[in-house]
Subunit: 299 residues, 2 copies
């Protein structure tokens, strides 16, 4: 097989990996050049600067997932409609006219529609397929925590539908811009597990974050919780709200794709919801792009 | 009876009314001098400047409700605990040492506790008692829409408990600081009733604003809704979420205390939830302070 350069070009960061024929990662690079930090018309130059040497190897294929395929990205890659499997992504690759060695294509994002409301994602679909392959699964419910978390339903190896939960963004809005920010000390939000659990528990027995959020203020006002624990409590409220509002349809195991402290928080909150998680880290992205590349070769 | 000066000194505005013995409003004034705009130590001077002439009349009593009684206000007036009736407010007035004619007192706010979480309000309790009196009611569920909406349960003329819903603040956060702000045009948020109703409907059949909010972005992305209607749609989503998450316990009539376009939006959304509203406007504040004054005289 030809050499694969796998690139995850998201809103805030640009990451790439050189993969061997068996999918193993040879080398990784990461740059602070997310789509929001690249001017229109500069994508090819930024790509060449950071990955030109890797592209110089004979017959190199580069696959890019993420927001690089959005209207504000390198080239707009139209969404692929759900239900969709790996083959659908391969069939709808958008080839980039790249003035250099090798071939470059952008993997499409996915769209679906639930009760008249459209849903979209770019990049997560590759992580989902990669994660499923790493775990040897064809069916499951997956969660990808983040600024905009995605919940994805896979059946028979195809993504059936998914939904977006603005968990991370709500946390940041409340943390930084709301009246609650006045009682939350600035600085690192180190996790206090007891305060986090208390937030999760309140959210799970509540009916809406609109109603539970004010407790951050009143617990501070009555000195029921020290100020340095309030951000952990708020984090528990917001993540707990995400889990309260998710229908598990009697399926109490999910696949959690993510890494670091955020994934730990989700594992912790999921356990309180009675849900166990199998976890896959960032290797899911490289595995997913490698899997797409396999069917490019067969195409 | 002595003359009553009723003052509502809130976070963002200062309003006062001179009331006749029968409670009728003789004259009203409003100033852009909310508690946030008055420096510590300046409250007496601001009060005297704006109401000194009214206080000059013989035997004038002034009652002040709202955030003027908070830690950041004129004098901290400790919260009165629920359940609480009008007499409890009177008994716990905090008298202000006022160097001038007449007497000045601050009406306490209320606190309650639900499942270990404290709740507080300052000013709304006076509106609740005034509104109930204007409607001749002793029992009811009341909603006071705003930045932090309050839902108040009254039984036998006493406030039993209440809760805070951060509806207006969530709207402003999403409107101004979130990713949704990018698709929402700047300027006046004139109401489009159809878009508002569509937002309410989605919220009512949803499980959380965390999940429904992203639809503002995707409806714009797929050009399913013109950009100038999106703020009405978002308003419907947020108010609809407040109503979805409220337990009505089979009681399908509420008292709505509020005025103007916001109250109209709530009436509209309540109707979609199957709830009718009796409405009282800002006169509830003056009536409530007048009712407290009656028991001061009897005390």
């Amino acid at each position: 097989m030809q050499q694969l350069l796998a690139v995850d070009w998201g809103t805030s960061s640009l990451r790439g990996a050189r993969l061997a024929a068996d999918g193993s990662v040879q080398e990784e690079r990461a740059f602070d050049r997310g789509v929001l930090k690249v001017a229109a018309g500069e994508f090819a130059a930024v790509f060449k600067k950071h990955f030109g040497d890797w592209m110089a190897a004979p017959e190199t294929l580069c696959l890019i997932s993420g927001m690089a395929g959005s209207r504000q990205g390198w080239i707009e890659a139209p969404y692929c409609k759900c239900p969709a499997g790996l083959q659908d992504l391969t069939r709808q690759l958008t080839w980039v006219p790249y003035a250099g060695n090798g071939r470059v294509a952008i993997v499409p994002g996915l769209s679906c529609e639930i009760a008249g409301i459209p849903e979209v994602m770019r990049g997560e679909e590759v992580q989902v397929f990669g994660g499923m392959q790493l775990l040897g699964m064809q069916d499951g419910l997956l969660v990808l925590p983040g600024t905009h978390s995605k919940w994805v339903r896979v059946r028979g190896g195809r993504i059936q539908f998914f939904s977006t939960v603005m968990t991370g963004e709500f946390y940041a809005l409340l943390r930084e811009h709301s009246i609650l920010a006045r009682t939350l000390p600035m600085g690192d939000d180190e996790l206090d597990t007891a305060a986090f659990d208390q937030g999760v528990a309140l959210a799970l027995r509540g009916t809406s974050l609109l109603r539970t959020a004010f407790s951050v203020r009143t617990l501070a006002l009555f000195e029921r919780m020290p100020a340095n624990l309030l951000s952990s409590y708020l984090s528990g409220l917001v993540i707990g709200e995400e889990l309260r509002s998710q229908s598990f349809d009697g399926e109490w195991q999910v696949v959690l794709i993510g890494a670091g402290q955020l994934a730990q928080r989700y594992e912790r909150a999921l356990a309180r919801r009675g849900v166990t998680a199998r976890r896959v880290g960032s290797e899911a992205t490289w595995r997913g792009l490698w899997a797409v590349a396999q069917s490019v070769d067969r195409a």
